[in-house]
Amino acid sequence: MLFPTFDYFVFLPLVAVVHHVLRERGLRAGWLTVTSLVFYAAWNALDTFLLLAVIAASWGAGRLVERTRSPLTLGLVVVGLLSPMAYYKYLHFVAENLQLLIPALPVPPRAHLPIGISFYSFQAVAYVVDVHRGQPAERNPVRFSTFLLFFPHLVAGPILRASTLLAQLDSDRFVSREDVGYAIARLGTGLVKKLLIADILRIGIVDSVFTDPGRFTGLEVMIALYAYTLQIYCDFSGYTDFAIGSARLFGFRIPENFDRPYQALSVASYWRRWHITLSDWVRDYVYYPLGGSRGGGLAPYRNTFLTLLILGVWHGANWTFVVYGLLHGCAVSLNRWWRKSGPGQHERPLDAWGWAWRFLATFHFVVLARILFRSEDLGHAGTVTLALLDTTPALPRFSTHATLVLVLGYAVHFTPKGWRAYATQRFQGLPAVAWGVALALLGWACVTWGPGDSLAFIYHDF
């Protein structure tokens, strides 16, 4: 069940109302677990068994790690919890490449990727590592299931820590009027981002150019890269708006995942603003254990590089993501050198020129690296890159509709952050009936100007 659908807007308030009617904590947790399973089963009922197996394994593993406190046990548990993801996501890719070296090696068929596996596997790993670091293991399997299963974040994050949600499950709080207003504001934002920006850009500009780059001029390919950059932001941050808004309808607060990433003035800053919960995860469970910025010489650069590589490969088993991770690793390392040892170490506060070149360089690095993110393989990425060099003088052939969405989308992205907070606050102050009217009008706008039906979220493939 996709978020921006009529079915979800029937499902969500029904589940929320029943949740608030139930007074007993255990019942509420049970209700959320059952409805989350229903939500997940709507994609593929068979995948639910794997999800339940991971939940059972991580719950049991948490108890075991708490008892033993053994690094060996933790290591085995982590490997075990990551093994389904390794099997479904990476085995075929690894075997296919090893076969180039060892021709006799059999290559298993490409497995169907269970939706959300990269997200719930990382959350399960974070939980057992946190337990090893001293956090108490959850005794109640239903409550633990609620943490991993809670449907707003189940399929594509934000990546939660157990402590974030379990603590909120413990409190006997109920949803407030402000929560409902905030939730509807975020759900509406998600609708606009997904259906009126991301999907329009995808259908109107991006897909056609990436499918047949040779049929477009260099200018059109560049516009498509800008469009894809905005599309993926609106697609994923729109998903996050839905997740945060949906959770708030239950009175839960889950962390933000984006902070106007394209306003970043360095690639390192970009990663602090893009998919924040994943960046936090790799920082806490990869970068710090590797040594972080401690140690002299090249160690911090190695750690940064490896972390960004893992971050890239997390997105998929494809050489494009390997190169994507390497590129970003290089950029963040270069940024570190600039700040620590290079010309940037004596830098004064930025003037307008300093701000402009940093912004343009960072933004275009991110935009051009997206070629790898969107391409089917390295060959395709090369074709798209070559298409950029075409100099045919012709006006772009994209529809006015899509072009307008592109311009307005970027304009909104570069507005001050306070504007959104102010607008949300004003919206929360409206009568509840006005919220409903706004939601209905938005739904009609999406039907009228959107693609007719929501397309799958990009991060569902990861």
Partner: protein
Amino acid sequence: MTSDAAPPPSRAVGGMPALFLAFGTAGLLVAATALVPSLAHLTPWHPGEPVPVWRALAPQATARVTEDASGELVRAPETPEPTAAPVAPVPLPSDAAVPTTQRPPGVPTALADPGFRGMDAFYRALARAEAGQGLARASQWGDSTIAADGITGTVRSRLQARFGNGGPGYLSAGLDPQWSMRLDVAVSRKGEWATQSLLNGGGNARYGFGGIVSTAAPEATVSFYAPKQDDGTRLKLHRLEVWYQTGPERGTWWAATSGRGAGGGSAASTGTSDRFHVVERPDGYTSASIGAGAEGAATFYGVVMETAGPGVVWDALGVVGVGTGSFSQTGRRHIAGQVAQRKLDLTVLMIGGNELGLPSLLRGEADEYAILYARTLAKLRAGAPEAGCLVVTPLDQGTRSGGTARSKPGLAAAIAAQRQVAADWGCAFWDAQAAMGGPDSIVRWAAMKPPLGWSDLLHLSEKGQDIVGQLLADAIEAGYDAWTRQGGTTRPTPAAPAAPAEADPADPAEAGEPG
């Protein structure tokens, strides 16, 4: 990097009434759309349809990943099989030849051409070319499907590989990615050019053979370079035609082949008229340039670049966005004169994809559209009544609604209308939607990896166009082979019915000098 949000303090009850009020209001407004006929398109659910939420849990008809016929892993159809009433299959005449080559996921589809009455003239030209004599000329008009020159490019390559390369054929002077493309021909443009097309109008009822008319500012030029061959050299061409317009306030024009002057003169006249300048180059040329002199502007329709033969020429005359209404903008005598000059052996028409929203088609009624389509066909055939005729239907097009994607509702009626017109007018008929696999095939094509269709569910990718082009070429070749096996017998062409009267707008082309 930010840390996880801290749990908020406990709060008093207060949100439930707001939750009820907000979602209740939204629900009532959405339900109200079902009561207002003009808002019915906004209703997300109608009684009788699967129940929301429950329908999301219904088992999917197919796995999400499957293998195609060639063993490639592809994403399976997003939607269950269509439930719409199936389109009646085209009855194939006894002498139709069904191609045997498999091109998954396309379906081998024969031309419906009883007695070869639609294709006979073209098959005779092909037979002459195969015997080493002359050119077989076909021109395919269409919309963005043809403007991309994917389908036509493949048909051209296939037929030229077998019957010989007759050259790139007709090229609009305004050939530009904005309007139409030819990937085999390099184009270099200098100076200011103003272009009008059938789509945007402004051409004073004279849009030329390709639906595009371009005016060059003083000293503006455009050069066309012959297609490259396998050995890297450019194809040697022997005939150049310059199609231009004379009229008031025009200057001079000129033409050159491979840098050598090939004619020119004044483009000024008191009335507007069409002119054709023909140059033979027995020693061959590989590029042609046309342009306006320094004295004033010159208006061009295009150029024809051909070899001495034998071979096939397959013109791609696509203009993005056009339909039958667009062709009504061009003057009857003007287009007849243009077509007559081209000396066609086959007229091919592939439009309709931009007209599927016509109310009559949405109601499933074919008659009204059949009249519009017949007018267009009649207009194009008037200049070459002896040429063969082939009607190609629009490709499958889809739309997303209610959680599913499927073929546009007007498509079946449009295809039925075109099938009827083809039968009435003695044209051969090729069902491109059937060749793609029938209704909803665009959904499957777009979901494949690599995609055979764009996610707009309107256009095919380059690979998808190539498959359709191969299927059409298969059908033409199979038809030709069947025609040859029967001794190349020419059947009498039945008299075409009178074209439905068209309320032609004031047609300045009629008032001008004879072109």
